[in-house]
C-alpha cells in the first residue's frame, strides 16, 4: 500500500504541483500577515479541477512552505510573518546580527522538517490512541490548560513576573473585545464601532506589536541589519546545529505534537511553549535571547510538529485542529475524501495523501535550503529603504485579514503600544499570550459551568482538569518554595537578567515614558471596569476581575516608580554613542501620514510616496534607486492586491464615485 501510494505521488503532474505549491507558499510566507491559513484558502478554488491526491499535495505544499517563509522574515529581520514565528525571532534574529543568518535559516528549514517528520511518524503510527485521549479533553480541561499556559508568563517575562502579569492583563482585556463568552450574541467593549464587535484580530495585534515596533527600531538605527561585512556561514551548518541537539528535538516535538493534537490551541502556542520549555531545561539556557541555536531549534521543531499534529484529529476524527486544518479538511471533503475513522480503510488514497505530506516536508527542505542563501542577503539592504518596504507590506497585510482600513489604523496603534512597552521595559510577548489565552480561559470557564449545571465542582471532579490545575499551582509556587529545599543556585533570575526584558531588547531608557504609559494603563483599566458594569453578571465577570488585578499591578508599578522620578533617567543613556537615523516620533508621524494618504489618494500612490519620503528622510539620497524603487513598490502593492483579490482602495477619495 505504501509503495502504491508513493507511485501516485511520484507522477509528474503531482511533482509539478508540489514544486508550484512550494513556490507559491514561499511568496505568501514572506509577506507579513499573509499566513498559511490565508494562503491555503486562497489556493483552494484552483484545486477544484484537480485529482484528489494532487490537490491535497498542492495545498499541503503551500501550507508547509508558507509556514517556513514566515520564519524567514522573523529570523532575518525580526518581522514575524505570523504569530507562530514570534519565538523564532528571539534567537534567530540575534544569530542573524552575528552574521549567522545562513545557519539560522538552515536551522529553520531543517528544524521544521524534523518536527514535521516526527509529527508524520505519529500520524501514521499511533494517531488512533492519541485521538481517543484527545476526545476526552473538554471544556474544564481546556480551562485548566489555559490557566497553565498563563503560568508561562512568569517564564516569558524573565523574572519580571509582575510586569509580565500586568501586560498579560492588558492582553486579556483586549481579548474580551467582541462577542460575549456565553452565547456570542452581545458584543462587549465595541463602543459602537462595528469592527470591534467581531473582536480584535490576532494577526493585526501581532503585526503591530512586533513588526511595527521592530521597523521603528530599524529606522532609528539606520545602516543595515548586519554590521559585519561578509557572512561566511553556510545553510548546511544549520543541519548540524539541529542534529547535535536530540533532547531539544525530543522536548520540542512532544510539545508541538500535543498542542497540535488538541483542537483549538494552534501553532502559536506550540512554538511559544516549545521555546519556553526549552529555555527552562536546556543546558544553553544562559545564551537564550542572545542567539542560542537551541532556542531556534526548539521553536522551529515545535512549530513543525504542530503543523502535522494538527492533521491527526483532522484525519482520524474529521475534527480539524486549527483554522488551517479546517480549510484542508474542507479541501478533502470537496475532493470526495471523507476524513474520519473510515478514512484509513479507503484504498490507496490515504497512503498517497500521507506519502504526499512527507514529500511536501522533504520538498520544503530542498526549497528552503536552496533559496535561503539569497534570502540571507536581505540583511545588507540599507534599513532606510528596507524598513519602509516592510511597512507597506505590513499595511497591506493588516488590511487583508478583514479588508478594512480600520485594521491598518489598529495595527499602527498596537505598534505604538508595543514601541512604548519595549522602551519602558515591559514584555510585549506577555500581552500576546494574554490575547491568545483570554478566550480559551474565559469561554471554557463558562462552558464548564453550563456543562456542570452551574456547579463549580466540575473543575475538581474531572481528574484531568484537576491534575492540570494542581501541576499549575505547583509550577507557579515552585520558585518560592524551592529555596527551602535546596541551597545555592536559585531559580529566580538575577537582577541583570531581569533588566534584559523581552528577547534582549534595549532596557528601560526613560522613567517618563514608563510613567506616562502606566497612567494610560490605569485609565484603560478604569474604562474597562466602568464599562463592565453595563453587562450581565457572567459577561462582565472576567473583565471586572482582570481590570481590578491590572489596575492594582499598574498602581504598584507607579508607586515603585515615584522615588525614581526626580532622576529623570533610570539609567545612563547610551545614545551619544549611537547615531539616531530617524527618531521614533518621526516614524510614527510617517505611519499616520501614510494612513491618511491611503484614505485620500489610495494605496498604490500613498505607498510610493511613503517609500520615497521615508527613504529620503532616513538619509538615503540615491534618486536613481529611490525613485524606481518607490514606483516599483507602489506598483507591486497594486499588483499583489489585484492578484490576491484584495479590495484595496486604488484611488482613495478620487476613486469614490
Amino acid at each position: 500500500m505504501w509503495f502504491e501510494g508513493l507511485l501516485v505521488v511520484l507522477k509528474p503532474i503531482n511533482l509539478f504541483y508540489l514544486m508550484l505549491g512550494n513556490f507559491i507558499g514561499l511568496i505568501f510566507g514572506v509577506l507579513p500577515a499573509v499566513g498559511p491559513a490565508f494562503g491555503v484558502a486562497l489556493m483552494l478554488p484552483f484545486t477544484f479541477g484537480m485529482e484528489p491526491a494532487t490537490a491535497i499535495i498542492f495545498l499541503c505544499a503551500v501550507h508547509a512552505t508558507c509556514a517556513y517563509g514566515d520564519s524567514v522574515t522573523s529570523i532575518l529581520m525580526k518581522i514575524p510573518g505570523s504569530s507562530a514565528t514570534v519565538p523564532s525571532s528571539w534567537d534567530g534574529f540575534p544569530l542573524t546580527q552575528q552574521g549567522k543568518g545562513g545557519m539560522a535559516l538552515g536551522i529553520a528549514a531543517f528544524g521544521s522538517f524534523v518536527g514535521g517528520f516526527i509529527g508524520w511518524l505519529f500520524l501514521i503510527a499511533i494517531a488512533k490512541p492519541i485521538t481517543q485521549f484527545a476526545i476526552e479533553i473538554g471544556a474544564p480541561e481546556y480551562f485548566a490548560l489555559g490557566v497553565m499556559a498563563l503560568g508561562l508568563i512568569s517564564l516569558a517575562s524573565k523574572g519580571e513576573t509582575l510586569k509580565g502579569l500586568l501586560w498579560a492583563c492588558i492582553g486579556l482585556a483586549i481579548s474580551f473585545v467582541g462577542g460575549d463568552p456565553i452565547t456570542g450574541l452581545t458584543s462587549r467593549f465595541s463602543f459602537g464601532v462595528v469592527w470591534l464587535e467581531g473582536g480584535v484580530p490576532i494577526v493585526v495585534c501581532m503585526l503591530g506589536l512586533f513588526a511595527v515596533t521592530q521597523v521603528t527600531k530599524m529606522m532609528e538605527e539606520g545602516e543595515n541589519i548586519v554590521q559585519v561585512m561578509a557572512v561566511k556561514d553556510s545553510v548546511l551548518s544549520g543541519f548540524g546545529a539541529v542534529l547535535k541537539r536530540p533532547f531539544t528535538i525530543l522536548r520540542a516535538s512532544m510539545v508541538g505534537l500535543w498542542v497540535g493534537v488538541l483542537p483549538a490551541l494552534g501553532t502559536t502556542l506550540a512554538s511559544i511553549t516549545g521555546y519556553l520549555v526549552e529555555q527552562k531545561y536546556s543546558p544553553e539556557k544562559a545564551e537564550f535571547g542572545h542567539g542560542a541555536p537551541a532556542g531556534l531549534v526548539a521553536a522551529e521543531v515545535s512549530k513543525g510538529s504542530c503543523v502535522v499534529g494538527d492533521l491527526i484529529p483532522t484525519f482520524t476524527l474529521g475534527i480539524p485542529g486549527s483554522i488551517t486544518g479546517a480549510i484542508i479538511m474542507g479541501a478533502l471533503i470537496i475532493h470526495g475524501i471523507d476524513p474520519g475513522p473510515r478514512f484509513m480503510t479507503s484504498g490507496v488514497l490515504p497512503y498517497a495523501v500521507f506519502t504526499g505530506i512527507l514529500m511536501t516536508q522533504a520538498c520544503l527542505l530542498i526549497t528552503g535550503m536552496s533559496v535561503a542563501k539569497y534570502f540571507a542577503k536581505i540583511v545588507f539592504v540599507p534599513n532606510a529603504i528596507l524598513a519602509p518596504l516592510i511597512v507597506s507590506l505590513c499595511f497591506l497585510g493588516s488590511f487583508t485579514d478583514r479588508n478594512t482600513i480600520f485594521d491598518v489604523g489598529l495595527m499602527v496603534s498596537f505598534g505604538f503600544i508595543g514601541f512604548l512597552s519595549v522602551r519602558a521595559g515591559y514584555p510585549v510577548v506577555s500581552m500576546l499570550l494574554g490575547i491568545l489565552l483570554g478566550p480559551l480561559v474565559e469561554v471554557n470557564f463558562f462552558r464548564s459551568l453550563r456543562i456542570g449545571l452551574d456547579s463549580y465542582a466540575i473543575f475538581v471532579t474531572r481528574p484531568i482538569a484537576l491534575g492540570i490545575l494542581l501541576i499549575t499551582v505547583a509550577f507557579m509556587t515552585w520558585p518560592f518554595v524551592s529555596p527551602l529545599f535546596k541551597r545555592g543556585e536559585s531559580d529566580i533570575p538575577s537582577a541583570e537578567e531581569a533588566e534584559e526584558a523581552e528577547s534582549g531588547e534595549s532596557p528601560t531608557d526613560f522613567v517618563a515614558i514608563e510613567f506616562g504609559l502606566l497612567i494610560a494603563v490605569v485609565i484603560f483599566f478604569g474604562l474597562i471596569q466602568w464599562e463592565s458594569w453595563h453587562y450581565s453578571k457572567d459577561t462582565g465577570m472576567f473583565p471586572k476581575g482582570v481590570s481590578i488585578v491590572g489596575m492594582i499591578l499598574a498602581i504598584y508599578h507607579l508607586l515603585i516608580l515615584v522615588p525614581r522620578m526626580g532622576m529623570g533617567y533610570r539609567k545612563e543613556l547610551k545614545e551619544e554613542a549611537l547615531k539616531v537615523c530617524m527618531p521614533p516620533w518621526v516614524s510614527f508621524f510617517g505611519f499616520a501620514a501614510y494612513l491618511l494618504m491611503i484614505y485620500l489618494i489610495g494605496f498604490p500612490l500613498a505607498t510610493a510616496g511613503y517609500v520615497a519620503g521615508t527613504g529620503w528622510r532616513a538619509g538615503y539620497r540615491r534618486i536613481t534607486v529611490l525613485a524606481p524603487l518607490s514606483v516599483g513598490v507602489g506598483g507591486t502593492i497594486y499588483l499583489l492586491a489585484w492578484a490576491m483579490r484584495i479590495p484595496i482602495s486604488v484611488w482613495g477619495l478620487f476613486g469614490a464615485s
Binding site: L185, V194, L317, G340, G635, V650
Partner: protein, 331 residues
C-alpha cells in the same frame, strides 16, 4: 542646487506614476451608460475564506460569470467580523448598480433585523436573486446522556451544544419540548459534536449535511433523533421528522430550522440590471454541473425563484420579530 534637481526629478517620477495608474484604472470604468455588465462584479461573503459560505460562493461565482450577458469576473470579497453583520451591511449599503451582490444566511439577516441593527434598510426592498442551499437541522443525542428519547427530556434541564447561529432555534425546540435549555456555545459543529461524544452536553442541534458525518464518525456515540423538516429527506430516508418523533412544530417554525443561504443585491436596482442578474444567477444555480460540484463539497442545492426567495426570507424575518422576546431572553 544639486538637491533641487533631485527633488524635481522625484516629482517627474511621481507624475509619471500617476499617469500610468490613471490609464490603468480608467480602462475598467470608462462609462456606465453602456449595457450591463461593464466591470467586475463584487460578490460579498460575510465570513473568512475557507468557511462553508465562502466555498459555496467560490463554486457559484464562475457559473454566474458564465451566464451573464458579458463575461465579467465575479470576484469574491470576504468581509468577516461580527457574525456576518459587516458583510450584510456592506451589501445593503452598496451602490445599486448591480456590481455588488452578496451571499447571506436568512437566519442571521433576520436576527440583525429583529435586533434593529440594519439601519434604514427594509428587507422587503432588497433584490433577492436565489436561494442556494437548504439543509434542515437535526437533533442528535449523546450516547452518554440519561435521555434516551425526546419524551424523557420534558421538564428536565437539557444541555444543548451548538454554535451561536442555532441558539435561537434550540431555544424554540426546548420550549416546544417543555424542557429547560442550558445552551453551551461552541465555535463550530465539530467541537459541539465532540462535546456530545464526551457526554459534556446531552444534545446537539445542527444542519444535517455537516452533522451526519460526525454521527457516522462517532461510532455509535451520537444518535440521530429527528430532522426538523416537514418531510423525510431523500438523502436520509430512515431519519424520522420531528412530527413522527412526537414533536409537532408549526410550519413557520420549521422554516427557520435549517442552514440555508440566499444570494441578494441592494435595493434600488434598475429593472434592466435586476433582470440580467436574476437571469444569470437563476441559470447558474440551476446548472446541473454546479449541483454536482456542490454535492461533492457536501452542499445540497435547493434553488428557489427570486419571488420565492423573497417570500421565504421575509417569512423568516417576521418569525424572528414574533419571537423577539425569546431572542432577548437567550442573550
Amino acid at each position: 542646487m544639486k538637491s533641487s534637481t533631485k527633488k524635481s526629478s522625484l516629482l517627474v517620477w511621481h507624475v509619471a506614476l500617476l499617469a500610468v495608474t490613471v490609464l490603468f484604472t480608467n480602462m475598467t470604468c470608462l462609462s456606465e451608460a453602456a449595457s450591463y455588465p461593464e466591470q467586475d462584479i463584487t460578490f460579498v461573503v460575510p465570513f473568512r475564506p475557507g468557511g462553508g459560505l465562502d466555498t459555496q460562493a467560490r463554486l457559484l461565482a464562475p457559473f454566474i460569470k458564465k451566464y451573464l450577458p458579458k463575461q465579467v469576473n465575479v470576484v469574491i470579497e470576504n468581509q468577516p467580523t461580527a457574525g456576518g453583520k459587516v458583510g450584510a451591511l456592506k451589501v445593503f449599503g452598496a451602490k445599486p448598480d448591480g456590481y455588488t451582490i452578496g451571499i447571506l444566511a436568512p437566519n442571521s439577516v433576520a436576527l440583525l433585523n429583529a435586533k434593529g441593527e440594519i439601519g434604514k434598510t427594509k428587507l422587503a426592498d432588497l433584490a433577492y436573486l436565489c436561494r442556494t442551499t437548504y439543509a434542515p437541522y437535526m437533533l442528535t443525542l449523546s450516547a452518554r446522556t440519561q435521555f434516551k428519547n425526546i419524551s424523557e427530556m420534558r421538564g428536565q434541564r437539557v444541555r444543548f451544544g451548538g454554535t451561536t447561529s442555532v441558539v435561537f432555534q434550540a431555544a424554540m425546540i426546548a420550549q416546544q419540548l417543555g424542557a429547560k435549555m442550558v445552551f453551551v456555545t461552541y465555535d463550530g459543529f465539530p467541537d459541539a459534536s465532540m462535546a456530545a461524544m464526551r457526554g459534556d452536553v446531552d444534545a446537539t442541534f445542527f444542519n444535517w449535511d455537516s452533522g451526519i458525518k460526525h454521527v457516522e464518525a462517532s461510532e455509535g456515540k451520537l444518535k440521530t433523533i429527528f430532522i426538523a423538516s416537514e418531510k423525510r429527506l431523500p438523502e436520509l430516508p430512515n431519519l424520522p421528522t420531528a412530527k413522527e418523533a412526537g414533536l409537532a412544530l408549526d410550519r413557520d417554525v420549521i422554516s427557520v430550522m435549517a442552514a440555508h443561504n440566499v444570494v441578494l443585491a441592494p435595493a434600488g436596482l434598475s429593472p434592466e440590471v435586476k433582470g440580467s442578474l436574476e437571469k444569470a444567477v437563476q441559470k447558474a444555480i440551476n446548472d446541473p454541473e454546479l449541483g454536482i460540484q456542490m454535492q461533492k463539497a457536501n452542499y445540497f442545492v435547493k434553488p428557489l425563484t427570486p419571488k420565492e426567495t423573497k417570500d421565504y426570507v421575509l417569512g423568516i424575518a417576521s418569525l424572528y420579530l414574533k419571537y423577539k422576546g425569546m431572542i432577548d431572553e437567550v442573550k
